[in-house]
């Protein structure tokens, strides 16, 4: 059993997104966090101070641990942002700004 089977999901055609240059399959409607989790990726940010890996934590837009760079826009919350075809998703290091 998996969640798609449990909910008897018949998703629309999948598309690809890039994560740090590598192609990943995404189902339409899923957030970036859901797409990355389903590809087994759990970390997509390095903290500002210690460079520690972080990914999704609260899942509802409150904690800001899941920040990621999408199509050159830093600081996007992966748990709220839907994945779009061809999106270029990159691990975010530091503050996400050029400093």
């Amino acid at each position: 059993m998996n969640p798609l089977e449990l909910a008897r999901a018949h998703p629309e055609a999948p598309f690809t997104v890039r994560f740090d240059g590598r192609e990943i399959e995404a189902l339409p409607g899923r957030t970036i966090a859901a797409v990355l989790w389903s590809a087994g990726i759990t970390a997509w940010r390095g903290t500002r101070g210690e460079g520690q890996p972080r990914g999704v934590f609260c899942g509802i837009g409150v904690c800001f641990d899941c920040l990621v760079t999408v199509n050159d826009r830093p600081n996007q919350r992966a748990c709220l942002t839907p994945a779009t075809p061809g999106a270029d998703i990159r691990t975010q290091e530091g503050t996400g700004h050029d400093d």
Binding site: V56, G59, T81
Partner: protein, 482 residues
Amino acid sequence: MTERATLPPPTRPDLAVIGAGPAGLAATLAGAARGVHVTLIDSAPQPGGQFYRQPAPGLGARRPRALHHRWRTWERLRTGLDAHLAAGRVTLLSDRHVWCVERNTDPSPAPFTVHALLGPAQDESVAIRADGVLLATGAYEKVLPFPGWTLPGVVTAGGAQALLKGGLVLPGRTAVVAGTGPLLLPVATGLAAAGATVVALVESAAPKDFAQRARVLAAAPDKLAEGAGYAAQLVRHGVPLKLGHTVLEAHGGERLESVTVAALGPDGRPVPGTARRLPCDTLAVGHGLLPHTDLADGLGCRLDGPAVHVDDEQRTDVPGVWAAGEATGVGGAVLSLAEGHIAGRSAAARLRGAVPDPAEWAPADRARTRSRAFFDGLDGVYAPPARWAELVTDETVVCRCEEVTAGAVREAVGSLGAGDLRTVKLLTRAGMGWCQGRMCEAGVAGVAGCAPVPARRLPARPVPLGVLAAQPDRPPPPPPDR
């Protein structure tokens, strides 16, 4: 409901309902049926809130109810909402993050302006005028720190549920669900039903805690049946329930690999020799919920502890502002529905210049009284281990955003002499990062041994400077002194 027919459409007052969870939906239906126009605003792409979170339409779920409870209630709410939308009595604004509700000093053309950012890019703000505002913003999860809690693979219990219900994705293959509170039960059963191996449900409340409150629990047979239903599902999925246990530490390098759990003794400390290491790739953890009060706070509404203060009609102490659901205190979906219904009815009457008759919402009032009594009773059952802060090592990061360690907090209190949370914050930067202390406030307060103070977080959401610069004329007035 006879007054509805006699009301000419142009005089319909506008009510802005913020939050489309159980409370906001119940309020919207009650208000729209009784002569107000409702603008329902929610940051999510679809209505439903946390409890009725829906899978994204692109996923084509034919049986979303497999992940839900009380699906019939959702169907009723959804049908009602659709009817009001079609009739133009409700306007639904999804994907709008409200960052400020402004009380206009000059009430023309309306007493309130709701400012919302269009998501997910959030670089454009819309302003919605309203005669009244109803806050139904729900709650978020409280997680107390422990060594390893920042490892990827450690998520909040509600977050795991959100990924599952909204994205139809599991946060991992082998999960431990831990912490305290009634939310852990649906999370553990949901993960197991969707195919995860749930290694254990680790609940710090002990059997004796439940026994001591047997009378409170017995007064709510429906809730007991719900709990028993979850327990039966846990057994069916082979999930061991470890009552009176806690997670001591999460282990891993780049990501979570295992957790150590131990039994708690009567003094709230782990019992020596009981520690066990459980391999897992996911830890879903939570210690209860905290109300979302930023917007209420910005309006100058009185708070009672962590929750928005309301009267019997669900009115806040700011005229024209109502609040319902978990923003006014945590108590589950049934309570949220009852409060929302009452708030919507009160708002509809008051905004039309009438005095509502509480007898008209007597059933909702009874449901509210029962649920509140039940959750007050539960509060004493589900409490984190009394000595949890002692288990937080000095190296443990307690403020996730600013990477402040427990050692730094202890130093601020010890050698630097900080006596309250504000000073701790100033000395350590704990709570000053992106989340504005939402995730660390309880943890930092516990480690520092200070009382938590309601933080002021304005605006309620991060707002790009360009949006603020583009705001026309007056800036939002400062909230009145309290």
